[in-house]
Amino acid sequence: MLRQHSYWQLFSAVCKKDVQLAFRQRAEIVNPILFFLIVITLFPLAIGPEPGLLARMAPGIIWVAALLSTMLGLDKLFRDDFNDGSLEQLIASSYPLPLTVLGKVVAHWLITGLPLVLMTPLFALLLNLDSQALVATVLTLLLGTPLLSFIGAIGAGLTVGLQKGGILMSLLVLPLYIPVLIFATSAIDTSTMSLDYSGQLAILGAMLVIAIISAPIAISSALKVSVS
């Protein structure tokens, strides 16, 4: 029997499976976006439709909604694989587990993060954002949502073995999201004042690099604990 040792094969297989499954049950892709949209609709209803106020609140609203909607998919990230035993097969593979985990996190971002980024122009319209702020929002979401997926996956990995892990997971993960929230909203804020916001983007990028390197290790040790 031929054995070919290709990290790319593993990564793409893991990633493709999750994306394929998500496309088969469209709800998984559509629901977070709908949730995001509804949360954004709630804010003008709660604080009033005055355009100036909305534009000022927009970065915060968009980012809080993004945090919450990525949380929706996180609980499912490892749950199905844990329940049907695929996780054990992934651990008992000769490939390094962090790489497998990287594939799953990337898939999660493709399913929940990327659609948000693509839909941003629509949300920006609803919240009266100007084009400068729109560019900033897209950029921060592009850098920030993968970061959310990575950090969130640590919480998901730790709680996947628990019956009611969902609420606990948000408790563990949300405090860790705070830096992302601060720098991302501040970047959008700065852009509305027509100032240079590359500093905030650089920090987000640096955090993303750190997360890509270190989070898969944390996630895989968390998964090993959950499976044991």
């Binding site: 408790l171 830096p179 040790s221 604990v225």
Partner: protein, 245 residues
């Protein structure tokens, strides 16, 4: 490191070590706590600006320092637990967490009680208070994760992983909150300029810091003993403790 730790990897030896250390910690705590509180409350001079309200510093600052200190020692224990597979270190993580959470809660409450007369509001989104609040969330996360697991072995390791993730994030959170604070409030209101502190206030503060450290140490040791007993319940050496009274 390993050679030195190895004898204490055995649970009964670790238990005995706790027992030997405990009296020292307890004595230091009681003495320093008494001296520190009486000195701070009654003998230290009043601040010329904040008058007597500043006396809250004698518990606010020690608890804030210890909340960070306890978290870092918890993370160190977590690293030892995961790298050297030392189960006693896992238990130490779980022993420290509730103590750290209590100290953090004290720092928050005293901060609020100090903020009311100084700023006119119980809660101000001051950078230090905000990071302290997030620190409390991190502690509570570790605790609730530990208690959510039925299998305590897995629970200890999961809590250790979370503690390490938290300690990596803590500086980032701290930095980001500080940065956010200066961005939104212009000049931050500093409660107390520590450099300008007079020695008549500095020494009682030091005594109180030692007292808090001693307290955290004492209760951690007590809780560590409990955790060891709980885990080793069925071992003969625990039975022998019964006969000894």
């Amino acid at each position: 490191m390993w050679k030195w730790l190895h004898p204490y990897a055995k649970a009964d030896r670790a238990y005995q070590l706790c027992n030997t250390l405990l009296p020292y910690f307890a004595v230091i705590t009681v003495v320093c706590m008494l001296v520190g509180w009486v000195w701070g409350l009654a003998y230290a001079p009043a601040d010329y600006q904040q008058k007597d309200s500043y006396r809250i510093i004698f518990i606010h600052v020690p608890s804030a320092i210890l909340s960070m200190g306890a978290y870092s020692s918890m993370a160190i224990a977590a690293v030892i637990a995961l790298v050297w597979q030392l189960r006693n270190a896992e238990l130490a993580v779980i022993a420290i967490a509730p103590v750290g959470a209590c100290v953090t809660a004290i720092a928050l409450i005293t901060g609020a009680a100090w903020g009311k007369p100084m700023w006119g509001a119980w809660w101000v989104w001051d950078a230090r208070l905000t990071s302290e609040l997030i620190l409390l969330f991190l502690y509570l996360g570790v605790l609730s994760l530990y208690h959510a697991f039925e299998d305590k072995k897995a629970a200890g390791r999961a809590a250790s992983i979370l503690a390490i993730v938290g300690v990596i994030n803590l500086p980032i959170i701290h930095f980001s909150v500080e940065w956010w604070n200066t961005l939104h409030q212009g000049a931050t209101i500093t409660k107390f300029d520590t450099k300008a502190i007079d020695s008549s206030m500095f020494w009682p503060l030091m005594v109180n810091i030692v007292a808090f450290a001693g307290f955290v140490g004492t209760v951690t040791l007590m809780r560590l003993k409990n955790e060891i007993l709980q885990r080793e319940k069925h071992r003969p050496w625990v039975r022998q403790l019964l006969n000894r009274g």
